[in-house]
């Protein structure tokens, strides 16, 4: 047997307990989501069931108000992403291209806000939103998500912007372009991939956020997906686990696929930026 083959077998054996534990919840999710309701609580508990009940997804959609929560989540995530980008792109450009007084201070400030956790501030944030009448309003989440993602976004964008040679813009100025023109014609087209990748990460962060959504939203119709699904299991006598799992599958799998695909960019951004 070749060296590499032996090594591969040993490695996979070493990784296998972890791989099983990681895949286990996915299996639980799928198996429960398609199980007939009356086979949820069989004894002894079993992985097996009599038939695939795809209708669970359809029932769940109306019973759990999945569609409404989905729209709320989409609105919050898209708006927060756009808002964070609007604030971050100029700041990242300034960090990447200019020297200015207080730059070091500003970078430290960013690092600090990046690590600041919403949970420690959640009470203060809640009182802030009460003061502005934004409780039970999805926009409270849009603003807070944008603010909490901004540091990461600026950091990530800046490290990508640094890889776009400033000579290109200088060449455009020499060619007769104004600053604005060179930004639009030269810089932005080259920055689009970086901005897109960063945007997807903000989107996923917002999509997955729980604590703030749980706090700011008090009305069932405003719930985002994580809160909506949580509300199906929290403090209930009768939990419709097959619906909960069906909802979890729909809410997580698409995002998980996109995330797995883009994850290497995250590594790269981190390698270039904060964690160097």
């Amino acid at each position: 047997m070749s060296n590499k083959l032996v090594r591969s077998i040993v490695y996979w054996l070493l990784l296998s307990p972890l791989v099983i534990v990681i895949l286990f919840p996915f299996a639980v999710m799928f198996v429960t989501a398609v199980r007939p309701r009356d086979e949820l609580f069989t004894f002894p508990p079993s992985w097996f069931f009599s038939e695939f009940r795809w209708d669970n997804f359809v029932d769940m959609w109306t019973k759990v108000n999945f569609g409404g929560a989905l729209l709320n989540s989409l609105y919050v995530s898209v708006a927060a992403t756009v808002l964070a980008l609007v604030f971050s792109i100029p700041a990242a450009y300034a960090l990447s291209r200019y020297r200015f007084r207080g730059k070091g201070l500003y970078r430290n400030f960013l690092l600090m806000t990046q690590m600041m956790s919403p949970i420690v501030l959640v009470l203060g944030l809640f009182r802030l939103m009460v003061a502005f009448g934004l409780v039970n309003n999805l926009n409270s989440l849009v603003i807070t998500y944008a603010a909490f993602n901004m540091a990461f976004t600026i950091w990530m964008l800046q490290s990508y912007f640094n890889t776009i040679p400033r000579e290109l813009e200088e060449a455009a100025w020499m060619d007769g372009a104004t600053h604005l023109r060179s930004l639009i014609r030269i810089f932005l087209p080259l920055a689009v991939p970086a901005i897109a990748v960063t945007a997807i990460f903000i989107f996923i962060n917002s999509w997955n956020e729980f604590v703030l959504a749980l706090t700011m939203l008090r009305n069932n119709n405003d719930f985002t997906l994580p809160v909506q699904i949580f509300s199906q299991v929290a403090g209930r006598y009768q939990i419709e686990w097959h619906h909960v799992m069906a909802a979890t599958v729909l809410a997580t799998v698409p995002v998980a696929i996109v995330f797995s695909w883009l994850q290497r960019y995250l590594i790269r951004g981190m390698a270039l930026g904060a964690v160097k």
Partner: protein, 356 residues
């Protein structure tokens, strides 16, 4: 086309002074090369002419117009960057045409100009390609083409050949020079390579530590370097330096080396008796002598280069390099005698480094 006048220019980044008062006059149509070791400020000076760096004090004018605060786009300057700075999302054609599009020139005129530039630079076949698909030399040509269509008053080159391999560098050197002879556009060219400077320049500006060491034609710098720095920088292999003191005996002027070796130096020198000086002799100006002629030396290493041999010897207490055309079968430790014509000797004051 225009002249360029640089007067008392300084550049500071915070407390660090990069350029310490530079004055250079460049006349219309001239090809001037700024040369110096890395960090000497030559690129910064070029970028100040381009408008990419602000000027801390002093002034730069193009023609009669002071351009200190004029933004780069209004200076009417074309520039070739070290890494070419080709727009990666545009084709070769679009790269070259970009400046003309910005000026809203009619399409017909743009086409004509781009094609003209492409013909001069042999780029016709590559116009539709993207810069990614080009070799280093071709990218270099596109960068030149971009400058060419501008009909600018002034061309700036920032080490444009440093990313090319040795062979391509030599041929591009010739092409740039030919182009300049044809267009006669005033050009400022930055390089750290003294051979590039010697071969291309009408006049060379040698810079060191933010200051101008000497300005002159290539042969002036080679024949009469103004100080030790220029003497050392221009010429390859570089000039030999033999430290010693001046002594006058029987009407002859001698340099007494650190080990007591006596070398006759030009009698008309202004150096005073006992003055600590450095004698400079280029390797190619040393020749083999017989009998009592010349100065004793001991062979250390012999390196054949093909056309000639480089002999490293111990002479007057220092290691000295000599280039000899004949293929002598020297062995290490062999005593020989070397000499040079008095007219090819350079004397420098040891303290100030200035030519005496």
């Amino acid at each position: 086309m225009a002249s360029v006048t640089i007067t008392g220019v300084e550049k500071r980044f915070g407390a660090v002074q990069i350029i310490r008062g530079v004055d250079i006059d460049i006349s219309d149509g001239e090809f001037v090369v700024l040369v110096g070791p890395s960090g000497c400020g030559k690129s910064t000076l070029l970028r100040m002419i381009a408008g990419l760096e602000s000027i801390s004090s002093g002034s730069i004018s193009i023609g009669d117009r002071v351009i200190n605060t004029v933004p780069p786009r209004d200076r009417d300057i074309a520039m070739v960057f070290q890494n070419y700075a080709l727009y990666p999302h545009m084709s070769v054609y679009e790269n070259i045409a970009f400046s003309q599009k910005l000026r809203n020139r009619p399409q017909g005129e743009i086409d004509r100009k781009v094609n003209e530039a492409a013909d001069i630079l042999n780029l016709r076949a590559f116009l539709a390609r993207s810069p990614r698909q080009l070799s280093g030399g071709q990218r270099q040509r596109v960068a030149m083409g971009r400058a060419l269509v501008r009909d600018a008053k002034l061309f700036l080159y920032d080490e444009p050949l440093s990313n090319l391999d040795a062979k391509l560098r030599v041929s591009m050197r010739t092409e740039i020079k030919a182009l300049h002879q044809r267009l006669q556009t005033t050009s400022v060219y930055v390089t750290h390579d003294q051979i590039e400077a010697m071969t291309m320049a009408d006049r060379i500006v040698v810079m060191n530590a933010g200051q101008v060491e000497q300005v002159g034609t290539p042969l002036e710098l080679y024949d009469r370097p103004g100080n030790l720095f220029v003497a050392d920088f221009i010429g390859s292999p570089s000039m030999n330096f033999i430290p010693g003191r001046i002594a006058r005996e029987n009407g002859a002027v001698l340099l007494v080396g650190q080990d007591g070796t006596r070398i006759a130096v030009p009698a008309e020198t202004k150096a005073s008796d006992g003055q600590a000086v450095v004698l400079g002799i280029r390797p190619e100006h040393l020749s083999l002598r017989d009998g009592t002629d010349g100065v004793a030396a001991v062979v250390e290493v012999v390196e054949p280069t093909g056309p000639n041999i480089q002999v490293f010897v111990q002479l007057a207490g220092t290691r000295v390099c000599s280039i000899l055309a004949e293929r002598h079968p020297f062995v290490p430790g062999q005593p020989i005698r070397l000499g040079a014509s008095l007219t090819q000797m350079h004397l420098f004051d040891e303290k100030s480094g200035k030519r005496i």
